[in-house]
Subunit: 670 residues, 2 copies
Amino acid sequence: MSKASTATKRLLLGRPFRSDTLGHTLLPKRIALPVFASDAMSSVAYAPQEIFLVLSVAGLSAYTYTPWIGLAVALVMVVVVASYRQNVHAYPSGGGDYEVATTNLGPTAGLTVGSALLVDYVLTVAVSIASAAENIGSAVPFVQTHKVLFCVVAIVLLTSINLRGLRESGTAFAIPTYAFIVGMVVMLAWGFLRVYVFGDDIHSETAGYEIKAEQDHLIGIAFVFLIARAFSSGCAALTGVEAISNGVPAFQKPKSRNAATTLLLLGSISIVLLMGIILLAKEIGVKYVSDPARDLLGAPEGYEQKSLIAQIAHAVFGGFTPGFYFVTVVTALILVLAANTAFNGFPVLGSVLAQDRYLPRQLHTRGDRLAFSNGILFLAAAAIAFIVAFGAEVTALIQLYIVGVFVSFTLSQIGMVKHWTRHLKTERDPNARARMIRSRIINTIGLLMTGSVLIIVLITKFLAGAWIAIVAMVAIFGLMKLIHRHYASVQAELDNSDYEAVLPSRTHSIVLVSTLHLPSRRALAFARATRPDKLEAVTVNVDDRDTRKLVAQWEDSDITVPLKVIASPYREVTRPVIDYVRRLRRESPRDVVTVFIPEYVVGHWWEQILHNQSALRLKGRLLFEPGVMVTSVPWQLSSSDRRKRDRTYIAPGDTRRGVGTLPGERIEPL
Amino acid sequence: MSKASTATKRLLLGRPFRSDTLGHTLLPKRIALPVFASDAMSSVAYAPQEIFLVLSVAGLSAYTYTPWIGLAVALVMVVVVASYRQNVHAYPSGGGDYEVATTNLGPTAGLTVGSALLVDYVLTVAVSIASAAENIGSAVPFVQTHKVLFCVVAIVLLTSINLRGLRESGTAFAIPTYAFIVGMVVMLAWGFLRVYVFGDDIHSETAGYEIKAEQDHLIGIAFVFLIARAFSSGCAALTGVEAISNGVPAFQKPKSRNAATTLLLLGSISIVLLMGIILLAKEIGVKYVSDPARDLLGAPEGYEQKSLIAQIAHAVFGGFTPGFYFVTVVTALILVLAANTAFNGFPVLGSVLAQDRYLPRQLHTRGDRLAFSNGILFLAAAAIAFIVAFGAEVTALIQLYIVGVFVSFTLSQIGMVKHWTRHLKTERDPNARARMIRSRIINTIGLLMTGSVLIIVLITKFLAGAWIAIVAMVAIFGLMKLIHRHYASVQAELDNSDYEAVLPSRTHSIVLVSTLHLPSRRALAFARATRPDKLEAVTVNVDDRDTRKLVAQWEDSDITVPLKVIASPYREVTRPVIDYVRRLRRESPRDVVTVFIPEYVVGHWWEQILHNQSALRLKGRLLFEPGVMVTSVPWQLSSSDRRKRDRTYIAPGDTRRGVGTLPGERIEPL
């Protein structure tokens, strides 16, 4: 082949780099908001409740601090949103915190963020589903008493939906998310209207009970600690805010600007809902304690405590039960949606980590069904383990939750500060410099804020459970380091190996046959078609009778390829073939030996057990011999047809990553 | 290639059909006896005890029948030994009952025998180990109270020894077997001497206790039923007698004569031991009941009942404890040896069944380590399941045991009767006819005897547990039928397929590359060495950056093979390659397409997870396309060396099958 033919190298099928330009269905802001916001927004379903719960330890009087804690959380939210608006502009590629940390702080920081996020995805599923169970449980007593069962069933359902390949659509996200926003806004507005405008005297069902404070009259450090813990728990409202920074490529142009606007919208809605819920709950006397039988004085025997949102809905809508049910259902729905985003995000993050060789390489191929399945199954198993271990208690799970989020926030902000500093060194345009300096200030504030929250979270939650999340992160970090090291050592081995690209002088082909059936004949015909320098058929004599029959058939047939019988004193197949191939290699070391193996192709896994096992094992062993190629010549049995009819698979998370089929485009089934 | 070259077809490596003529170490009778007799002889360790146990239900008076039951069992033994001496002469190939039934009664009868024997091997392990535990437990109280644990540990030990490939030797069999015979004979002789010659008044430790009969004064049918049950249980002494008929090829010449003599020897020793044990036990007042706390009046609180043999040894040797310990230890040893024979026999039977396509074909290759491992693991798991389910109680397990043996005995004898009848039709020599008629008479008596015992066993034991064994046999029978049917349908499909042996007109080779590293270069070089009509390299664009880099490298390199980039809109590897190959096939249907896949060869299973996964999946899918060959071009990473150092493997059961290495012959490690 001449150098000229390299011109054909560029011959591409279809348009070049089709995956970049084709199949994008870009999201307008009104769809992007629900697609990326369900995780963040759903956290207002449990964050305020956790604030009330923590403070109940010090008795009812501590509830006076709830608005202030809410404000502190809202402040953190403002800062984080402002910071991530800078991220979105600086890194529009959708790499998110992992990319920011890796680029600016090096691979170790990136890997730390990666581990934190992987653990966090697991906890997102656990916390969201547990909280959904709690909200549904407020309306359906059966769920209340069988929370763990409900959660496990829900996770199994989500898993099977995602394993089958859920085709995401903007609508699927939009309806529950907007329904949740509408439900919440209506509930809050109606509630405040009734209280402040109509002057109705509405009370939650727990308003009449007294909290039995575990620790009455907390003072000094202990009280500060309690407030800090309540604040930490409230910061759960921030989880999921970073999702938009992973989704910039899916936005319509101007991508970064639209993403930043959507982020602002998300932050505003979250703050409104958070503050509204806290203020209204306090107004109507909601109480939320960890053990109502012990801590709620005046409650009737066997009282089942409703979730905070359910208590508000119950009080606000009074006799109008559809309102109460609507709010509980949409709250549960958005929580399930939030859990589902983890099912999409986890394998996507896995593919990014695999690209950087921190996870098995095959996870990199995003469209690959099996790679995704493994990720989904791992996520589901881990989430179920957490659910069972913590009895589906939101309060217990939330102790583990936000460490990872804030590790990721903080490292990302450090990275952004470095990013701007680096760019300022080269940038000369005063306007651009001014913008960069402004951005750096915002990210510095973000860093100080998220760093402080991280420290507070670590102090107040370490012993309560955060250590478990940290241990998990460290373990995943270590495992990914080991995988990376393995790939690096393979790379080094390849770099150091000598390989002269001289062509092997001749090819010597052998066809393995056991009986003279059609698969063997096809293998012989294919082997002859490759016109090797030497071609022979080889059979291993594991059974005298069979071998004699084969030799007789061979002599009677029209086959001109010579048949060689290899003795097998121990009636095995592998060793004699290996020995024979080694002998060929010794005799002419510059030849390449090709071993043709006829194989049945079957449609069922159990047929696989009944066929090819010796061939597979032999193939595996032959590959250990240098200078040997192994060629499978398939014979398709009729049962193999069913495998061709496998349905088309859509990878989860496509919509969020801006990947999709164009209208009318059809994927041809394999 | 000309017709003349078919002369080289016969070129064999080494001597022709080496596995037949080489590597046999034939056994003299003195070694053959212990090798094949441990199973049969060990059953006298539990058979007499079961007779005593069953009769104890009717109280002490029923013990007067023990000698008569013993005689009945001995009579069956005489008949069975005489019958099998005919088998051994008629079928010297070692196929045993399976071969006799298949040849004379057709495949269904053969398969019935096969299923019965498979179940029986499992029960041999369970019963032998449970009985060993009982005997050891008579000397070591800890084993008595932890029988299940002891049995499970023992089976796991046996399994691991056999998985590692136990090199059998005649000595390993001879020492425990002869020690058992000597121990028993000395014990019995000394016991009878003391009683009848010295006139010592020796008593077993249970002699002073009274049996509380469950059913006093049994009369009529009920009593006959009890006697029949005792007889059925006693027939457990016959298990393992058929083993010699599987081992004829391992005997020194004249094989059949020597095997028949050994059979006679085995039968004689078994009868002597059986009758000796029963008579002496009765003489010294041994009692054996199912629940000593309930059924033994006068026994102290917490009395642990010793096995029957231990009771005899204890009484006979009196103060001489080494004698007592010697007898218990050799009894346990021969029982473990008997269990071990099942570990050898099970995979061997599996390989025979696989040869006839009743089990996955790869089990046929006897020397194959993996095939044997699977058989051994299955046997061990099933035996452990039985041990645990029945609490390692010999009495419970023995209810399941002998159905299979007698199914196999009976079918084998029917087969032998037909065998002689068939031969008598053609035989004209009066002497030969006389011998055949004599043999047929013996086998007919054998048939009547074993058939009657089978009916008695079925009647007396069906509800007590034999039904479980029967259900297991039916299930295995059905499974093997299904496997056979599958193979037959594949055969039919191949027979009905049209295949013109015309050579494909041209070969079109494609080499899959992802990066331009050494494995890819080797694959390209090897592919070029096969001189295809058309050769091109193909890469799937799952990542733009990577693909651009590859294209740039390719253009800078000295490679003259053109590189084709395939678009992958969904970032997957498999589908675009399949589509491309299909397009090639459509364009020139008579070409054969060869896909070269560079593969890493690694040494650890976890490395396998980190490499080749996409390649393996692609390979699996490509095989479904007709007219496509898949060639693996291996690149051996340094870690792959460790796999080459795997130690040599000796298949279990070689000694019994007459297969072994000649002195000084060495197996080269793979």
